[in-house]
Structure formats: C-alpha cells, structure tokens
C-alpha cells in the first residue's frame, strides 16, 4: 500500500513538473505584449519598459522560466497583473468557493445517481433500457451553461424560488473567514440565517453542475448492478433465503460500486472543468470565474496560477480515486498485479 502510494507520488512529481512546463509554455506563445497591455493604451514607451522590467517580462524566455520555477518552489505564483495582488492569495480567496460548489455537486451525484442506478438496475426491461440510455445521453449532451441559464429563467424569474447567482444575497454579511466554506463558517459562527441563504444560493449551481454526472453515474451503476445480479454469489445469497433488501444492500450494492467508483473519479474531473462554465453563469466567485476574468485581461501570472491549481487538484483527485478503487476491490493488488 505504502509502496503503491509512494510510486504514485513519485510519478505525481514528474507530472507536476510537466504541468508547470506546459503551463509556462502556453502563456508565452502569445503574440500580444503583456507589458504594453497592462500599462494601458496611453502609456509612453518608457512606462511600458519600466513595467516589463518590474515583472521580468523583458528577460529572455529561459530566464523567465527560471524565475517562474524558483518562485513556484517557494510558493510564489507571481503577482496578478490586474489587481496587483499575489496570485497565491487570490487563489486562496477564490478556491474555497469552487471546492464548496464541486463538493456539493459530487454529493448530489452520489446521493441521487447511485440510488437511481440501484433501483433501475434491480428492475430490468427494454423500455427502462431505452429510458436510461436517453437520460444519460441527454445529460452528457446538455451544454452546462445553457442548462444553468434555463434554470435561472425557471426558478428565478418564473417561480421566484431561488436566487439568480452569487454565494450570498446582497444584504447578507459574509461570515468570518475560518475555512472559506460558507456553509461551515456560518454554522461555526452560529449564524443560521446566513447559513440558509448560502445553502439556497448553492442549490442551482450545484444542480446544474451535477446534472450530467448524475446521468452518467446512474447508468453506469445500473449496468454494473445488472451484471452483479447475475453473479453466482448473489444467486447463492438469494437461494439461502436472504431478504431481497439485504441482498441488494450487502451483496449487490458494494460490488456494483467498484466499476462505478472509477467513473465517479473521472466525473470529478469533468465537474472541475464544468465548474468554470457554471461559475460564469451563476457569477459564483470561485477560481473558474477568476480564470475567465484572468483570460479576458490577458493576466499571465493569474492564468498560469489558476491552470496550475486546477491541474494539481485534478491530479490529486485521480490519485485518491485510484487508492479508493484498490481499497474497494481486494482483487486488485497495489503493485498492479492481480
């Protein structure tokens, strides 16, 4: 187990190095001159030069890379060109909102997708097959930004049930910063009114983000439930007179979970990416919105920082999924030999 994780961590270092190289390279393909852009249209050549010097933008690319890597290792992601704050500080400020949103979506996927898969898997039938297939394909075909806007039109404008966007209402006061997760911070503060406001604000973005994955997970779960139901040990359990509920819970659910976990891990990756679009639609102040704004302003350090951050999270999530996979299925050994 430790050897497996160690080896994965070693590969992780390698991947992280690659990620930083790619991230650095991609923002230096750009034709525009960031110093010029930042100084504004009316700046003199002198001012542009001074700016370039201050941020090291006039040095050769290799030197810039060296400065960048040195900074990375000491946790310095550079200064944002637009708000002139350290990028790391920005990420620290905006990341919790994204994590809260993604976690809520994952929770929804698990709490809704798995039961649907289990229940529909226990009942077979051609019509159900077609229906599940249609729902899954609809789920993955839905442009997330469009779904979000439709939800806003329905739940905000017509039904007047849920807010349009943001993490809190205009009149709500931000909870004191402890974890950065509003749901936790408001509870710690004992401020239940703000807690319910934060929860209400989370509903639409999280549902929008989760919709596609719920469809995928429930179909995956259904397929593996159907397969497990055919297994000998399930027939044995049924034959020895175990109640159907117990068979489903102890024999079917756990075994069907194994293939589903891998897909769930891949879905977390999809959720991280979908986050960007959902955050734009719901004006959710997370790193996705931050990334889009950085891109619009050609804010190099911010673009690099946020790409790096999302990729690092993605890589770690994949590692966790691999570990969970091995822990769920005793047939797979950690050394990759069955």
């Amino acid at each position: 187990m430790i050897r497996f994780i160690g080896r994965r961590l070693l590969f992780l270092c390698f991947v992280l190095l690659g990620i930083s190289v790619i991230t650095f390279a991609l923002t230096h393909l750009v034709p525009g001159d960031p110093a010029r852009l930042m100084a504004g249209q009316h700046a003199t050549g002198e001012q542009v030069k001074e700016l370039a010097q201050r941020y090291g933008l006039d040095k050769p690319v290799i030197t810039q890379f060296w400065i960048y890597m040195k900074g990375l290792l000491s946790g310095d992601l550079g200064m944002s060109l637009t708000n002139r704050r350290p990028v790391l500080e920005d990420l620290r400020q905006f990341l919790p909102a994204s994590v809260e949103l993604t976690a809520a979506a994952v929770l929804l996927v698990v709490l809704v997708g798995l039961p649907i898969g289990l229940l529909t898997g226990a009942r077979r039938g051609k019509m159900l097959d077609h229906l599940m297939r249609f729902l899954t394909v609809s789920g993955v075909s839905m442009p997330i930004f469009w779904l979000g806007i439709l939800m806003q039109i329905l739940f905000y404008q017509h039904l007047k049930l849920l807010p349009l966007g943001g993490r809190l209402g205009v009149l709500d006061i931000e909870p004191p910063h402890v974890t950065g997760f509003y749901l936790i911070d408001t509870l710690l503060d004992g401020d239940y009114a703000t807690f319910s406001s934060a929860l209400i604000h989370l509903i639409l973005p999280a549902t929008t983000l989760a919709a596609g994955s719920i469809a995928v997970i429930s179909r995956m779960m259904r397929a593996s439930v159907i397969e497990v139901l055919d297994a000998d040990y399930v027939r044995t359990a049924q034959a020895k007179g175990l109640p159907a509920g117990a068979v489903l819970r102890f024999h079917v659910f756990r075994n069907a979970l194994i293939p589903t976990t891998t897909i769930l891990g891949l879905q977390v990756g999809a959720l991280l990416a979908g986050n960007v679009l959902a955050e734009v639609v719901f004006n959710w102040p997370g790193i996705g919105l931050y990334a889009v704004n950085a891109i619009k302003n050609l804010d190099y350090p911010a673009i690099m920082g946020v790409t790096l951050a999302i990729s690092v999270i993605y890589v770690f999530v994949n590692l966790l999924v691999d570990i969970a996979y091995v822990m769920l299925d005793p047939r797979i050994s950690f050394d990759g030999v069955a």
Binding site: F14, V15, G18, I19, I22, T23, L26, T27, H28, L29, V30, P31, D129, H130, M132, R133, F134, V137, S138, V140, S141, M142, P143, I144, F145, W146, I149, L150, Q152, I153, Q157, V216, R219, M220, R222, A223, I226, T262, I263, L266, G269, L272, A273, G274, V276, L277, V280, V281, A291, V292, I295, K296, L298, I303, T307, I310, S311, Y314, V315, N318
Partner: protein, 293 residues
C-alpha cells in the same frame, strides 16, 4: 471520453459484417433517431444559405429583440438579426469546427501512436510519458488557457482543443498497433519481405481504423460541446458570427426578458450533440459485446 476509452470495441470488423452492423445500429430506435438527426444536421449545414430565411449577420435595428412570431420563428436578437437564420448558419460553424478538431487530433494521435507502438523502445517510452502528461490536465481548462494564449478566435479554439485531444487517440492507436504487430498476417508480411512503411500503413493502420472511427463518432458531440463552451466564455467564435455558443453568451445579457435569445441556440447545441452521442453510442453498442445497458 475517458469513459469510452475504457470500453473499447473489438479491433476489426470484417467487411461482410459491416452491413449487418448498420442493421444492428438502426435496429435500436434511439440510435436510428440519432442517425436521422445527424443526417439532418449535415443537410442543414450544407444548405444553410438556401434554407435560412434571412441574412444571419445583417442588422435590422427597428426590429431588435422581437419575440418569436410568424415573421421571425425564433425571434430576433439585440441587433434585430433573425435568430432562426443564425441558428441555421451556426450548424456550419459547429460541424466544421468540431470535425476540424477531431481530424487534427486523430491525425496527430495516429502518427504518434503508430510511431510509439511500432518502434517501441525509448521512443515509445518518451511519447507515452508526454501523452500521460497531457492526459493529466483537465482538457477544457487547458484548452481555455491555450486559446487565451493564442488569442480568442474559432480557428485558435480548434487548434487548442486539437492540441489537448490528440493523446486520447495516440493511446488508442498505440494499443491497437501493439496488438496487431503480433498478428499472424503481419508476421507473414514481414516474412514476405514487405517494407516497414507498407506494414505500418497497409497492414496495421488500416486495421486500426475501425476503433478509431468509433472513437471519433463518440467524441464528435463532445467536440461540439467543448467549442460551444469556449465560445460561451468568449474564447471561440466572436460576435457577430452566428456561432451557437457565442449566441448564448450574447443572449445572456438579455435573457431575463428575452428568453428566446438563449433558448434556441442552446437547443440547437443540445439536439446536435445528442444526435451525435446517440449515434456514437449505437455504433459502440453494436460493436461491443459488453457495452452498458
């Protein structure tokens, strides 16, 4: 995409079974609907200038923000352009751009995958590590950053997305090449003295094509979706080009009072992507004995 990669269909399908395959795809009602809608989308794209009632770009300010009516079935946008005409023309953008991504990515992926699979050794090791590196990135985020670096435009969005996607194809083709390398007919060709390039292209590449085409058909919808997403955040096609994602993005400024500006272009994306997914799903199911139910 990754989910599909985990469920690869069998390597090759003999010619005589291909007609049978078409029957099997069309036998499933959902796949048949998908196939019909895909044909319709292609037809609309081909005939766009002929069937669109109005110019998709020309402004008509007195008629701005008109709700759907008999004159404008899908209403008009903030510059008075006919949304139906724009949606029709948008089919071209989406299909051509998505096809461009898949063509570039699968071409690059095939070359790299073939090289890695056939030559093996350090080249294989090197190429596969680079592939792993790219696969470690969340694709949409990298495509976004890359498009931002190249400068927002549909062309750059296509290039960037292709650059992010080739590793999936490289992996697929490499796996196939490794497997096919040891087939009896390849060994026979080697013994018969066939040249290396003849073996690579004639014997191995041709037999890689079926799984490659299946994968491409599964990815088409995803490519359309990715491009629409990039356009939505302002990185793909730029207004006033009638691209679906950018139409939704512009419509977002007006959506609370003018629902039609976002609804119809979004619906077009949804239906087109669904059509390709249903078809791809059907092709995969027809080929694979163990597809999800």
């Amino acid at each position: 995409m990754a989910e599909n990669a985990a469920m690869q269909p069998r390597a090759t399908v003999p010619l005589r079974r291909q007609r049978n395959l078409l029957h099997r795809i069309l036998a499933n009602p959902l796949s048949a609907i998908g196939a019909a809608l895909v044909c319709l989308a292609i037809l609309v794209a081909l005939l766009a200038p002929r069937i669109a009632p109005l110019d998709p770009i020309a402004m008509d300010l007195p008629n701005r923000l008109m709700p759907p009516s008999t004159a404008h079935w899908f209403g008009t946008d903030d510059s008075g352009r006919d949304i139906l005409s724009r949606v029709i023309h948008g089919t071209r953008y989406s299909l051509i751009a998505a096809f461009g991504i898949l063509a570039l990515a699968s071409l690059a992926g095939t070359i790299i995958g073939l090289a890695a699979g056939l030559f093996g050794g350090w080249l294989d090791e090197l190429l596969m590590r680079v592939t792993d590196m790219f696969l470690a990135f969340p694709a949409l985020v990298l495509a976004m950053a890359l498009t931002a670096a190249l400068g927002p435009s549909l062309f750059n969005a296509v290039m960037a997305t292709a650059l992010v996607w080739w590793p999936w194809y490289a992996r697929l083709v490499r796996g196939q090449a490794l497997q096919l390398k040891n087939e009896a007919y390849v060994e026979a060709a080697v013994i018969a003295g066939a040249s290396r390039s003849r073996i690579a292209f004639h014997h191995i590449l041709r037999n890689c094509l079926t799984p490659l085409i299946v994968q491409i058909s599964l990815d088409m919808g995803y490519a359309i979706l990715t491009l629409a997403g990039l356009s939505f955040v302002g990185l793909g096609a730029q207004p006033p080009a009638p691209e679906w994602g950018s139409m939704v993005s512009v419509g977002r400024d007006y959506f609370l009072d003018n629902w039609w500006m976002v609804t119809f272009p979004g619906l077009a994306i949804f239906i087109t992507v669904m059509a390709f997914n249903l078809l791809g799903d059907g092709i995969q199911e027809a080929l694979s004995p163990r597809a999800p139910r």
